[in-house]
């Protein structure tokens, strides 16, 4: 079993969804139930595979290094290879993906958004899954780029076909923003290839090979990647696509966007930009930190100005991703651990919030918070779940959200030595202020939607019912994980820490030993 997993453990779950999609393509559209079953079976199989990977990963007991490495020829002429592997940073994110997608299938079982067509919807979902898993597994820049881009098309169609009223605008905006970033990112990858000592796209070799690049070039190359990943995160001021995309996307699309797609950007920073170009990262870090805290405050203020529940959750994403980026910008292993935790926590919590927003919309046919209210009276269980998620989102200790925000703030008290302490300490103060605002907007949201009595127009509406079976099934795993990770964060930190320390070792150890970044600063 171990042998098999080591060879095929990553390729099978990556491409299984595509195979499922191909099978569905051959089945006529009107056999909807069969389509749903195939999609569910495929995504569950992938999830089971993920579980096997997890077990084997624990068994291998080598969290810091890449596991399940596959290295095969792909495009020889450009020295790009099919290299896959996961370590403690990518595995949690990959498992998150494998968990979220089947939950999305279950959630949408009986309520596909207009114009229905489960066949096309589920095929797109499966293609998305391949792209997302592949991005977290790829260890070759070009392979990474291909998977990174594969997610664009399905998401574009998902928003554009099944989205809300303003879907066309939101879909193309999402597409153009992301493509702009990734085109420049590709140029950066190529520059890296030609400038590095060894002409390679292999992410495992590049940190060493890229060390010889002149610092001025490094800063430019990092700039290209910054645009590519920063737009995806999204960082202020590139965030404008996000509220539109989130608001207009169908529920499942929003969930996937929030839970996984945004993580591709932050993951890119942690996996590619910083380990390969640490010197440039040190140059950019104060700037990234600044944008991160601006994002935190801006996102929070944006939330306070919203009337639409879904748009509020979308702006809260901007704020939360600000915390993640702040953790990354400290360039300490502590901060980056916090960032990875923050990614997973945000995926679980905001994914849940979008599920809830979707369910509210389905019941009330509106997300206008001035018309909502009394959810706890009409649908008490859903109301409580919303309360639980709001608490998790505002960073209540004991729930997962806390472990993403608090350590990130703490890390900025003591950033990598090469970074100016005063700058990051002032960032820390601003970020702490952001948590207060977060409590403000989330409680305000809760008050508006869950507390009080239902409005007259909905008081006797038979559509407003409590959570259904498919909703419970879809939500339970997320809720349990939010609680478990909140109570016992070591589950995740235990896996990420060795990987963070290892993959960023050369330069991040310097926080304690004071070698690399100081040398970099001295150059």
């Amino acid at each position: 079993m171990g042998e098999f997993l080591n060879d095929w453990g990553l390729s099978i779950p990556t491409f299984l969804p595509i195979i499922g999609a191909a099978v569905m393509l051959l089945i006529p559209k009107d056999r909807e139930h069969l389509h749903k079953l195939i999609a569910l079976a495929t995504t569950l199989a992938v999830a089971v595979f993920g579980l096997l990977l997890l077990i084997q990963f624990i068994d291998n007991d080598n969290y810091g290094a890449l596991n399940f490495v596959v290295d095969k020829g792909w495009i020889d002429v450009i020295d790009s290879r099919y290299i896959m592997g996961v370590d403690g940073i990518s595995l949690p994110l990959m498992l998150l993906t494998m968990l979220i997608v089947p939950l999305c299938v279950i959630y949408s079982w009986n309520h596909f958004p207009e114009p229905h067509n489960p066949k096309a919807f589920l095929i797109l979902l499966l293609i998305l899954e391949t792209g997302m898993i592949g991005t977290f597994a790829a260890q070759d820049l070009i392979l990474f780029f291909v998977f990174f881009e594969v997610v664009l098309l399905p998401m574009y169609f998902m928003i554009g076909v099944w989205g809300g009223e303003n879907r066309r605008y939101a879909a193309i905006k999402f597409f153009l923003f992301t493509l702009f970033g990734s085109a420049l990112m590709l140029v950066s990858f190529l520059a890296l290839f030609f400038l590095a000592d060894a002409n390679t796209f292999d992410m495992r070799l590049l940190p060493e090979a890229a060390a010889g690049i002149a610092k001025s070039s490094q800063v430019w190359v990092f700039g290209g990647m910054f645009l590519g990943f920063g737009i995806k995160v999204p960082m202020f001021p590139f965030h404008t696509w996000l509220p539109d995309a989130h608001t207009e996307a169908p529920t499942v699309g929003s969930v996937i966007l929030a839970a996984v797609l945004l993580k591709l950007g932050t993951y890119g920073f942690v996996r590619i930009a910083i380990p390969i170009l640490p010197e440039a990262a040190a140059e950019w870090a104060p700037f990234i930190g600044l944008l991160a805290v601006v994002g935190i405050i801006y996102g929070a203020l944006g939330c306070l100005a919203q009337r639409d529940l879904k748009r509020l959750v979308a702006f809260s994403s901007v704020a939360h991703m600000g915390f993640v980026m702040l953790g990354i910008a400290t360039l300490t292993d502590f901060g980056i651990n916090a960032a990875v935790f923050g990614m997973v926590a945000h995926g679980l919590i905001t994914g849940m919030l979008f599920f809830l927003a979707g369910s509210v919309k389905e019941r009330y046919h509106t997300l206008d918070m001035s018309r909502l209210g009394g959810l706890l009276v009409q649908a008490p269980r859903m109301g409580w779940i919303l309360g639980f998620c709001a608490m998790a989102s505002l960073g209540l200790p004991g729930l997962a959200g806390f472990w993403g925000e608090f350590p990130a703030i703490l890390a900025s008290y003591n950033p990598a030595e090469v970074l100016a302490e005063e700058t990051f300490r002032s960032y820390m103060v601003i970020a702490a202020l952001g948590t207060v605002l977060a409590a403000g907007y989330l409680l305000w949201m809760l008050q508006k939607t869950a507390f009080g009595n239902p409005r007259e127009e909905f008081a006797n509406d038979p559509h407003v019912r409590d959570a259904t079976v498919s909703e419970y099934l879809a939500w339970a795993p997320l809720l349990i994980l939010i609680l478990v990770l909140g109570v016992y964060p070591h589950l995740l930190f235990g896996a990420t820490d060795p990987a963070v320390v290892n993959s960023l070792s050369e330069c991040l150890d310097s926080v304690t030993s004071g070698t690399c970044f100081d040398a970099a600063a001295g150059k």
Partner: protein, 500 residues
Amino acid sequence: MLSSLPSIVGFVRPDIDWHAVAPELTLLGVGAVVTLLDIVLLERGRAYTSALAGIGLLVALIPIVTLAADGTTREMFGGAFVVDDFALILKAMFIVVAYIVVLLSTNYIAEGDYWENEYYGLLLASVMGMVLMASARDLVTIFVALELLSIPAYLMAAWRKADPRSNEAGLKYYLMGVFASAIMLYGMSLLFGLAGDTRLSVISDAVSGGDANPVVILGIIFVIVGFAFKVSGFPFHTWAPDTYEGAPTPVTAFLAVASKAAGFVALMQLVHAGFPGRDDVYQPLLWILAVGSMTAGNLIALRQENIVRLMAYSGVSQAGFMLAPLAVAGDIGGEALSAVIIYVLIYAAMNLGAFAVIIAVARRTASGQIRSYAGLFKYAPGMTILMTIFLFSLAGIPPLGGWFAKFAVFRAVVEADTGWGYSLAAIAAVNSVIALFYYAKVARMMWFEDAPEEADTSTLRVPPSLVAALGLTAAATLLFGIYPAAITHFTEGTLIALPY
């Protein structure tokens, strides 16, 4: 008496390597048979001509395969006609493209009641010019090949004789083409005057050297500008939209792919074999052409309402991408050629595919308006998915073939490691985003909009020859994207055999 002829006129027949010219001769033979068939069988022969032309094209592939298997570089006429890897790849591409164009034309020409024999005869003649172009390493040969491929194309563009727009298309194409030929010929005469020979290898020696001889510079600029018309590079693209719109759509596909590729073949040979020492002249010129084409083509394409005009401007922009590696050819040598060939091959697959869909859809809507694609997903989902694949491939979205074409271009310009290269890469990156917008506009129409009330939304029936064309192009587009080694396998190494 005949044996004493050489001694009288002083003419000795040069050695002819019959194997090397077999592809051209096959095409000539098939063209002759098609014409004879018309004379002998008259009306009765019509039904067979497209099949005959198609088979003839496939037969012409055989000598190319045997030549490739043989592997040696063959030269004739003192190096004016060369069969090397470069020539073979492109000859094969031209023939396959022509075969797909035959598939696209079969129903269009038969149902439109056009002149089939003449049509296929001219098509074969034009292809012969292209196949010859791939081997031409001599100014006169290049010029003859160019005219051989262009003149039938002028006629074919005006094939819908009853439609004034088709006449306009042919006339415009003809006038602009002749104008370009004249400019080019003038440039060639300058170069010939300087070198005293028409072979590129000799010209290369004559024009090299750093002196800023204005005759050299003028000659190089004129020749390149002449081909800029052919590849519809900005600002010499003005004929393309009108010609594309007016010409029969299969002919448009032929012009947009094969004719453009032939222009690039000539440019590659000129740049790489003709003026390798003068990158100080051609690089800035091609840089400007590349940037102008991709930017202007894209910006104008944004405003198009007609799908064929959209494809015309998108073709201008794509030509800019193909020109980009040539703008750094002096810095990276043969790599630039590989990048252009990769781009041309992938572009051929995806662009022909897009035109195949346009032809198939127009059979229903009888309209070229982008609006007429509304709701296509509802009644022709297969066609919609294929068109989506081709459009987003043109936009360069992985894992569709176009991404690798764009990647090859980016790789080439970044490899140059110069300010010119990096700025070109950045401009190309921005342009690939702009391009997405108009490709996505068509996709949006098909997927997101509803068909108008009065539209016929019964299932769309597609004739088998179009299905074959769609299958071939879609398979190639996907294959090149997922497994680019399928194409790089042929473009590795030294492609053009330089005589030194």
